[in-house]
């Protein structure tokens, strides 16, 4: 049995299991000690408590120094004060010192109103700054997805934990020492030249404006105002499950109809759904999976199995940088975003009677890597990108606010046709396990020729970092693996490299939780239960759909009849598939 410890916090008796930190023990009795560098995403198993910022200090009677509560363990008989004068003064001083090396950009900072440093300073009642000292100055680093303004870094090092421990990307490290220390890439090169995958998890946890996304909203406002341009929009599945949070709605509230209505009011000529393209992805990726599976069953030794999903651009960047020798294993199917682009600019533009260059395709994504993906050369035709640019869920919320709308009060509207029709299978793309479940629904029916009675593959759902399940394809056992978070993906990849993988198909999503936890989503400020609620919302939307299998989407069927021919056919290969690059040697040293 766990040993229990008794102590006193703010004159209240507490009993906690041995090993509990003072911070956790206090939380248990409703005492919320302020923190800044501390980060605990319980559901993800992510914990970061370097005790570096010193905001969470408390007084332990009998000890000379104040103790950081986030990484000090409770001991028998401790008497702790979390808000006596000494503690309050110390916290305030620590905050003032931090602010003495922080730019006063608050009024125009992208993070203002959503900044942990700002809200903590407010909470501590800092009204004066007594210290004036040297200020750090660094060059702002603009990459296609992420902007790093290290003048605003407070060295909490949350980004390092996400980049190195959770994602195992290793793009960031603290460098130098003392006042000169800062989080940087190797040799302080630009992020674009580093091994960064643009997953954006550093941005998702940064407490200040040091890490933000590249903002495309002004570009969008200009394009919407241009009468010569036809501006169409596609929205990723995970956006509808999170956008409402930016308007004070409960996490997990589905705002699909209100979002469509907002986009239409913003002035988009057509409001379409990336979900349509997700159904298309299933047709292409599912066909590819079955093709490889068949060749494997026929004894073809050269066939590459497992097949890996390729919807996630952060994940694509990851294997191009870290596992380039395996670049022929992932499916060649483009991500839904990049399938939507060429269908809009080749098929839809023709139907609408407009030229490709007069159409602007914008995507709303929970993701920052999508911004980079739009810019990849292989997704351009004569310099014109298939998807012009992508804006994040957060940017969309800002745009809606700029346009004087309150999402809560908007009516529910429907997506436009033909690229707005989607099935339940495509909606769950936004949660970890969703893509492979969608693929299983379609692949099962095509492979067996039978109707799938229960489309809910519960075994593929959940929040565990690595999951596996065997799906019975009418006598054929298909082994499926799922990983979310690139550190988990790395483990599955190493197994494949070492010949230990038992899987036929693996779904990988770069962000913990899948796209619902993407780097472009409303900030969860350390509350990972929000991610679960977003996932539940997507499964709810799926359950409520009349059609829940991608291959039954009538507009997808029509698209193949009218335009594409057959899945993985010649035109599909040209428009909907891609190839990957070895980026491991791309690191430049200057």
């Amino acid at each position: 049995m766990e040993k229990m410890i008794k102590l006193t916090i703010d004159k209240k008796q507490v009993e906690v299991p041995q090993g509990t930190t003072i911070l956790e023990a206090a939380k248990g009795i409703g005492v919320d000690i302020p923190t800044l560098c501390y980060m605990h995403l319980g559901d993800m198993g992510i914990e970061h408590k370097p005790g570096g910022c010193r905001i969470c200090v408390v007084e332990v009677e009998g000890r000379r120094n104040l103790a950081p509560s986030c990484n000090s363990k409770c001991e028998q008989g401790m008497v702790i004060h979390t808000h006596n004068m000494r503690v309050l003064n110390a916290r305030k001083t620590v905050m003032e010192l931090m602010l003495s090396d922080h730019p006063f950009d608050c009024l125009v900072c992208a993070k203002s109103g959503n900044c942990d440093l700002q809200s903590t300073a407010q909470q501590l009642g800092v009204r004066e700054l007594h210290y004036k000292g040297e200020q750090s100055t660094y060059k702002v680093d603009y990459s296609p997805s992420i902007i790093r303004d290290m003048d605003k870094c407070i060295m909490c090092r949350r980004c390092e934990t996400m980049c190195n421990d959770v994602q195992t990307v290793g793009a960031l490290s603290a460098i130098n020492r003392g006042f000169q220390s800062v989080v940087a890439t190797a040799f302080e090169m630009d992020l674009e030249k580093s091994t960064c995958t643009y997953c954006g998890q550093c941005v998702a946890v940064c407490p200040t404006g040091a890490l933000t996304e590249k903002d495309h909203t002004n570009q969008l406002i200009r394009d919407l105002a241009d009468p010569k341009k036809t501006v169409v929009v596609q929205t990723a599945p995970a956006v509808r499950a999170a956008l409402g949070e930016e308007f004070g709605m409960e996490p997990g509230t589905l705002v699909t109809g209100k979002m469509v209505s907002a986009l239409r009011q913003l002035g988009f000529d057509n409001v379409f759904d990336t979900d349509f393209a997700a159904d298309l992805t299933i047709m292409e990726e599912g066909t590819e999976l079955l093709g490889r599976l068949k060749r494997h069953l026929d004894g073809d030794k050269d066939v590459k199995l497992p097949i890996l999903t390729s919807c996630c651009p952060g994940w694509v960047n990851f294997f191009e940088h870290h596992f380039p020798e395996m670049k022929d294993i992932p499916s060649t199917a483009r991500s839904p975003q990049q399938m939507f682009g060429p269908i809009a600019k080749n098929y839809l533009a023709k139907k609408m009677g407009i030229e490709r260059e007069d159409m602007i395709v914008v995507s709303i994504m929970p993701c920052l890597a999508k911004k980079y993906e739009c810019q990849r050369d292989e997704f351009k035709v004569d310099g014109d990108p298939d998807v012009n640019y992508s804006i994040s869920t957060r940017e969309l919320a800002n745009l809606i606010k700029q346009a004087n709308m309150d999402l809560k009060t908007l009516p529910d509207e429907e997506f436009d046709h033909p690229l707005g029709e989607s099935t339940g299978a495509s909606v769950i793309f936004g949660a970890t396990g969703g893509v492979i479940e969608a693929a299983a629904r379609t692949a099962y029916e095509i492979y067996t020729g039978k109707t799938l009675e229960n489309v809910n593959f519960e075994a593929l759902r959940g929040m565990e970092g690595i999951r596996s399940a065997t799906v019975d394809f009418d006598g054929l056992d298909v082994n499926i693996g799922i990983a979310h978070g690139l550190g988990n993906a790395r483990k599955l990849l190493e197994d494949i490299r070492d010949g230990k993988s038992k899987y036929h198909a693996i779904e990988i999503m770069a962000c913990p939780g899948g796209c619902i936890g993407g780097g472009g989503q409303p900030l969860h400020h350390g509350d990972s239960s929000i991610l679960k609620k977003r996932a539940a919302a997507l499964y709810r939307e799926d359950a409520g759909k009349a059609i829940r299998k991608s291959h039954e989407n009538p507009y997808i069927i029509k698209l193949y009849e009218e335009f594409l021919g057959k899945p993985c056919g010649e035109l599909s290969h040209k428009l909907l598939h891609t190839h990957y690059f070895d980026k491991s040697k791309d690191i430049e040293i200057e």
């Binding site: 190195n164 490290s173 460098i175 940087a184 190797a186 580093s194 091994t195 040293i589």
Partner: protein
């Protein structure tokens, strides 16, 4: 930083050094010591190879190299000047001596003159506090140095 190519023999030597520490990521500091001993300094390419061999990120290696003042990414000069900034030397005017070296050679601490002759670094106590302030150049030790002596000391090496 200019792009420097490493000869294959040097790469092999680095691989060997890493191997002698079982390619353990936790031996990074020891590997860096050995590498600097071998090459005189730790250019980016050396750090890249070490990262690859120890299976740690280059950013992490760079983080460690920049944390410890002992590690250097630029080659030391032919005559490496070290000014002791230990307490005894400091209170007896080491800072003025250091400033004078910087001024006369026009290089900051941690860097090397363009002709590759001199580099300046600081160190903490060489155990000769009785001679404070102390300056070492290569193996040679100069005691009771004042800012006024600096020009003559430099002249000795410029013949």
């Amino acid at each position: 930083m200019a792009k420097i190519k490493l000869a294959k023999s040097k790469v092999d030597k680095l691989v060997e050094i890493c191997k002698s520490f079982d390619n353990e990521g936790s031996e990074l500091i020891n590997v860096l010591h050995k590498a600097q001993e071998t090459f005189g300094y730790l250019p980016a390419e050396v750090q890249e190879i070490i990262a690859r061999e120890l299976n740690v990120s280059v950013a992490h290696v760079y983080g460690v190299v920049t944390f410890y003042s002992f590690f250097s990414m630029v080659p030391k000069g032919e005559f490496p000047i070290s000014v002791c900034m230990g307490t005894a030397c400091y209170v007896r005017g080491a800072e003025k001596v250091l400033e004078e070296f910087k001024r006369q050679l026009s290089v900051p601490v941690g860097e090397t003159t363009e002709d590759g002759k001199f580099s300046i670094s600081c160190l903490r106590c060489v155990g000769a506090c009785g001679l404070a302030p102390v300056v070492t150049i290569g193996e040679r030790v100069y005691g009771r140095v004042s800012a006024g002596d600096v020009a003559d000391i430099i002249k000795e090496y410029q013949k």
